[in-house]
């Protein structure tokens, strides 16, 4: 579980996060949504410990990040997995090398133990015949799966995903969404996803935080988002005619 209490973050004169408080529960997919420039990426980087807030606290299962020593922070980092928007796979390594990398860096496992673990996670993300391919030789969807495999290979407690569906076709996007949700539930991970994808919001948004101008403007579930009267949320989520009609149908059905 990650608890965020009144965090503020500025860059120069730009006050990006203006006091966000929320809780991300484990075993469920928590989504952060909002327009470009609303502070989503800065918020995610604060959660990852890449930016330190000027005010407020972020606690990981009760441990406040600001009070941790350098070593404790490094240990905490090893409990985090991250799936980047562009996958961020290491070009010079094969798929297998990318997934094995955290194990080589942070564990004392033997080669065969590492190989077993790599084979297991690659199989878990449904990639069985790409071990020796380089990132440039596989599709965007496969790259995302490798990124997920690399993120979960160390059995993280916390999984962060920045726009995991960007650049993917709708069918592959759903596969990636479902995979993240399955892994989250299976391993009881606290998963936080930064997304613009409304399909993800509807499908896997067990908890959704809507950010606007650096503030939390709304929070709820994917069920609540149909019912909300919050104008900022409805303007953002139902900006397309298709989603407006879907919402209309949902509300009519409910009544």
């Amino acid at each position: 579980m990650i608890e965020v209490d009144n965090i503020h973050k500025s860059f120069g004169n730009a006050h990006i996060l203006k006091g966000i408080s929320t809780t991300f529960n484990k075993g469920q997919t928590n989504l952060i949504i909002g327009q470009s420039g609303s502070g989503k990426t800065v918020f995610l980087k604060c959660l990852l410990g890449l930016h330190e807030p000027e005010q407020g606290t972020i606690s990981y299962d009760g441990k406040a990040y600001g009070k941790l020593t350098g070593d404790e922070r490094r240990n905490l980092r090893q409990e985090m997995g991250m799936v980047f928007q562009g996958s961020a796979l290491f070009d010079s390594m094969t798929v297998e090398g990318n997934v094995r990398f955290p194990l080589e860096m942070f564990t004392k496992q033997s080669k065969s133990e590492m190989q077993d673990r790599v084979d297991f996670v690659l199989k878990r993300v449904n990639l069985v015949d790409a071990h020796h391919k380089f990132p440039s030789e596989i599709s965007g969807g496969m790259q995302k799966r490798v990124a997920i495999a690399r993120a979960i290979v160390m059995n993280p407690k916390y999984l962060f995903c920045d726009e995991p569906n960007s650049g993917l076709d709708p069918k592959t996007a759903i596969v990636i969404d479902n995979l993240i949700q399955e892994i989250t539930e299976e391993y009881d991970i606290t998963t936080i996803i930064n997304t613009h994808d409304m399909n993800s919001v509807m499908e896997i948004g067990k908890k959704i935080i809507f950010l606007k101008d650096g503030l939390k403007a709304w929070e709820g579930t994917n069920k609540d988002i149909f019912k909300t009267e919050n104008e900022a949320v409805t303007n953002f989520v139902y900006s397309s005619d298709l989603f407006k009609k879907v919402r209309q149908m949902y509300l009519e059905e409910r009544n």
Binding site: L48, L50, R74, N75, R77, Q78, M80, M82, F84, Q85, G86, A88, L89, F90, D91, F101, P102, E104, M105, F106, F160
Partner: protein
């Protein structure tokens, strides 16, 4: 003011490079990979350039000896001094700033643009140690290719002078040994080691802290070449005054 800030950031970067080292098992393979890329990968171009520059220095010197009073062994002497004192350590380093420097900046810069450096940092890896330290260690072998460059440059000079009919082999050899000061070779290798550090760190700095996209990687590579060259030229002046002045 920007320059002062950049020098400060560079100093902080150097400090970070030596903190929290990567596991030796991984570091060893990174160093070997960098030696292959940066040292052996540059050997061919430096041999090619050194051979012809050595030849041209010999021909130019011979063509400019118009007085009968000037001894014929000057061709060998001038070739040796030019190659050992300046061409091999300094001008080869400027060539390397273009070849190796732009490679370092663009490879690290591309990692920055594609979030690979962020991925390292999120995992808790000291990205500066992981990326820059192997390059510094690999370039400790830089004097090796400069020694090869010295040898090939003088060889090129000898071939151009003798086969071009500008000097006899005996005159050239006499010039090579004339007033030879072993400290000049030491001076050249001291410079080379200092330039090796510059070649590893300034391009890394420009790659690591770059911002933007693919176009900016190209700009960072150009800026890195310019600054690496400027620093090499300034340090060349300072070291020459300190060691030979």
């Amino acid at each position: 003011m920007n320059y002062v800030a950049s020098i400060g950031s560079y100093a902080i970067m150097i400090k970070e490079v030596f903190k929290k080292p990567t596991k030796w098992r991984i570091m060893r393979s990174l160093i070997l990979k960098e030696i292959d890329e940066l040292i052996f990968g540059s050997l061919g171009i430096l041999i090619f350039i050194s051979f012809f520059i050595g030849g041209v220095v010999a021909i130019q010197t011979a063509l400019n000896i118009t007085s009968e009073l000037i001894p014929k062994n000057l061709v060998g002497f001038a070739t040796r001094q030019s190659i050992i004192l300046e061409f091999a350590p300094t001008f080869c380093s400027i060539i390397m700033a273009g070849k190796v420097g732009s490679y370092i900046t663009s490879s690290i810069g591309t990692m920055r643009v594609t979030e690979q450096i962020d991925a390292l940092e999120v995992m808790g890896v000291n990205a500066l140690n992981y990326l820059v330290f192997p390059k510094i260690v690999a370039l400790l072998m830089y004097p090796f290719i400069i020694a090869v460059s010295m040898f090939v440059g003088i060889l090129g000079g000898w071939m151009a002078a003798t086969f071009g009919g500008h000097s006899t082999s005996a005159d050239f050899a006499e010039g090579l040994t004339l007033d030879f000061m072993p400290f000049h070779v030491t001076y050249a290798f001291i410079k080379t080691l200092v330039f090796a550090f510059v070649l590893a760190t300034i391009p890394s700095f420009h790659g690591f802290y770059m911002k933007g996209g693919a176009l900016d990687v190209g700009k960072a590579s150009t800026t890195s070449f310019v600054w690496t060259s400027i620093v090499i030229v300034i340090l060349n002046g300072i070291l020459t005054q300190l060691l030979l002045g």
